[in-house]
Amino acid sequence: MSKEIRKNPLEANLHRRTFMKGIAAGLAGAVLPVSAADAFNWDSFLQKHFKEMSDEEIKRVIERLEKEASLEWKKNIHISATKALPNVKFGYGLDLSRCIGCRKCVYACVEENNQSRMPQVQWITVLRFKKGEKWTDLENSEKYYKPKEVPEKDFFYMPVQCQQCENPPCVKVCPTKATWKEPDGIVVVDYNWCIGCRYCMAACPYGARRFNWAKPNIPEKELNPEAHYLGNRPRYKGVVEKCTFCIQRTRAGKYPACVEVCPVGARKFGNLLDPKSEIRYLIENKRVFRLKEDLNTEPKFYYFFTT
């Protein structure tokens, strides 16, 4: 089908539009409650898949999304669609010897990436393990630890977030191709194409994907207005989201928020294709491992030990 549209974009588009209007007119009456039907937006309903749109179409869609978001959040929001840079493949390193389990990364991520505050959505989960007990199968992890002070004497910590697999099982199962791996290796979601079936969440071995069970709730003042289409722009109720290595920052040459905030320098980030990068040095000189390597997902997220 995708080939057909590429051959003759105008015609296919027209066909889809008229056809969908017929179906939607029927559905809208039946499915939508009155209040939602009032707000029904044809342009949004008929919006094409991100990868099917030309640069011109993307520009128009983003203008509309910016307008919608600005109205809703009473704040000017800038959504970019910066593409992947050539010869870049992002990789991440996490030093388990240093991590103290303070969860600063968790909250820096929430603020940077506009996750819902109520209900709480967090892309990073920090797991706590008791020293000397089995841990790599994650069975005995504790996610809701609440100490007075970190680090705690008898415990160690392992933060988990999207591992940005080279062979991502979530992408394989998505029935609508609403999630895919970008050329720089980041797995992204088109929040306007996701139907919310949550098959990707069942497929992810790292519990990295989050669903918007309700409409995301963020205090207007705290909303980060510098956004990316495939990253931290405000999401909708009923779609899946996940860590994007802060795509809005990293494609602009900055570090992800979690790397920047880590008080002990446990988080490293860089270009796997650059032989002189810090991440390459780590992989080549430290003892690294990746989570659940037996599943052949080939994560680009490396855990290592400095001591």
Partner: protein, 400 residues
């Protein structure tokens, strides 16, 4: 011909007090379901008990069970057409309507589970972006709709012949009937593979999943048929031979035997080898780290299935309608628990980071589910009521 069909359509709203009471009851439940679904549309899936840890629940459990029920038709088709067993041949039609009803209910359960139901067109081929052949959900869309189409064609072909007072011309539909057999197997296999293909979920990622699916489907679907056939026989002039019902019961004895054997094989493998992958099964039957919400249900299901197996195995028991009906109800309930909640929920327990989130459907989730079941019952009732006068020859061309 059209006037005859219109007359038949008119007959669907004519009945005695009990019939009207039944229809009104279903309408009320459907109304409650629609109302609860409106709330879900408005507030989101947060009104369910599903969360990130257990991201599929009661809706998908019901979907899975109903894919199994859709098999009912084919277990009638096989003895009827491959072995020319006449008593069943006469009632295949009622199995096919059940298949149609079950598939429509399946589609509804998927729809209510979606976070963005208006975007469902994204997964259609050509106008959307169907991820075929990579996503098993895309395969499921194809096989379920195909099965729906095959069964609708068969039902309407038969109907057309009956209206003209002619016999079923087998040569015309035999290819379609034969196709429906592997196709029924395929809807189960594909649905099983949907879960089976996820290495992130060890409970589903076991090769025994698809065979167990088939075995349990061929128990629950026919058990529903046994009950329905007796209701139809009592409420209308349709004659149904006892032999047909007993034959179906005999088939259930075999499939339930296989189902229990496969369950035993799975329990042995997990508990004897004792790796961490036994955790979901432990959660189901023994409880895990003190969490045991599903344990009483799973044990009940096991007792139901074994009892029903014994009833259906002994000819004296299964040919006694009292025992037969008890057995059929036990199987429906047993498989509903085992293949519904007992299959979906433990896939997520413990979750992929080791957390145990105990899932139990919220009241709104249960009301929406009841609404879909009531819709299915209404659809089957009206469809059967529409077909029966044509089927018995009461309404046909030249006999109006």
């Amino acid at each position: 011909m059209i006037t005859v069909l219109f007359k038949a359509l008119g007959r669907t709203v004519i009945g005695d007090v009990r019939y009207y009471a039944w229809l009104s009851f279903l309408m009320v439940v459907i109304g409650l379901g629609v109302n609860a679904y409106m709330q879900q549309i408005d507030r989101g899936l947060i009104i369910t008990a599903m969360r990130d840890q257990v991201s599929w629940g009661f809706y998908i459990a019901n979907f899975t069970f109903l894919v199994g029920v859709a098999a009912a038709a084919v277990l009638l088709v096989i003895p009827a057409y491959l072995y020319q067993f006449k008593p069943i041949k006469e009632i295949v039609l009622f199995g096919e309507i059940l298949a149609v009803t079950a598939i429509i209910m399946c589609i509804l359960f998927i729809m209510v589970d979606l976070g963005q139901p208006m975007r469902v067109w994204h997964l259609l081929p050509v106008i959307g972006m169907m991820n075929f052949p990579s996503s098993l959900l895309a395969w499921d869309v194809i096989v379920l709709n195909g099965y729906l189409l095959i069964n609708l064609l068969l039902v309407f072909y038969a109907l057309g012949r009956f209206v003209q007072g002619k016999d079923y011309k087998l040569s015309l539909v035999l290819p379609l009937i034969l196709l429906s057999i592997p196709w029924a197997v395929s809807i189960h296999t594909v649905t099983a593979f949907l879960y089976n293909g996820l290495p992130a979920r060890p409970f589903w990622n076991a090769s025994i999943l698809a065979p167990r699916f088939l075995a349990s489907a061929f128990c629950s679907g026919p058990a529903i048929m046994i009950i329905l056939l007796q209701v139809i026989r009592r409420a209308s002039k349709v004659e149904i031979d006892n032999k047909a019902i007993f034959k179906i019961a005999e088939l259930i004895a075999y499939t339930m035997g296989i189902n229990l054997f496969l369950l035993g094989a799975e329990i042995f493998k997990e508990f004897y080898s004792g790796s961490i992958h036994k955790a979901p099964l432990e959660y189901l039957y023994l409880g895990l780290h003190g969490k045991a919400l599903l344990v009483p249900w799973m044990r009940t299901a096991l007792v139901f299935n074994i009892t029903a197996f014994v009833i259906f195995l002994l000819p004296k028991m299964r040919e006694n309608f009292y025992a037969l009906n008890i057995g059929a109800v036990l199987i429906i309930a047993g498989v509903y628990i085992e293949k519904g909640m007992g299959l979906i929920v433990p896939g997520f327990i413990p979750d992929s980071l080791g957390e145990i989130y105990e899932y139990w459907p919220s009241s709104q989730e249960i009301i929406i589910t009841a609404g879909i079941w009531a819709f299915g019952a209404l659809f089957y009732t009206l469809f059967a009521k529409f077909i029966i006068p044509v089927y018995t020859g009461e309404l046909k061309i030249g006999n109006q």
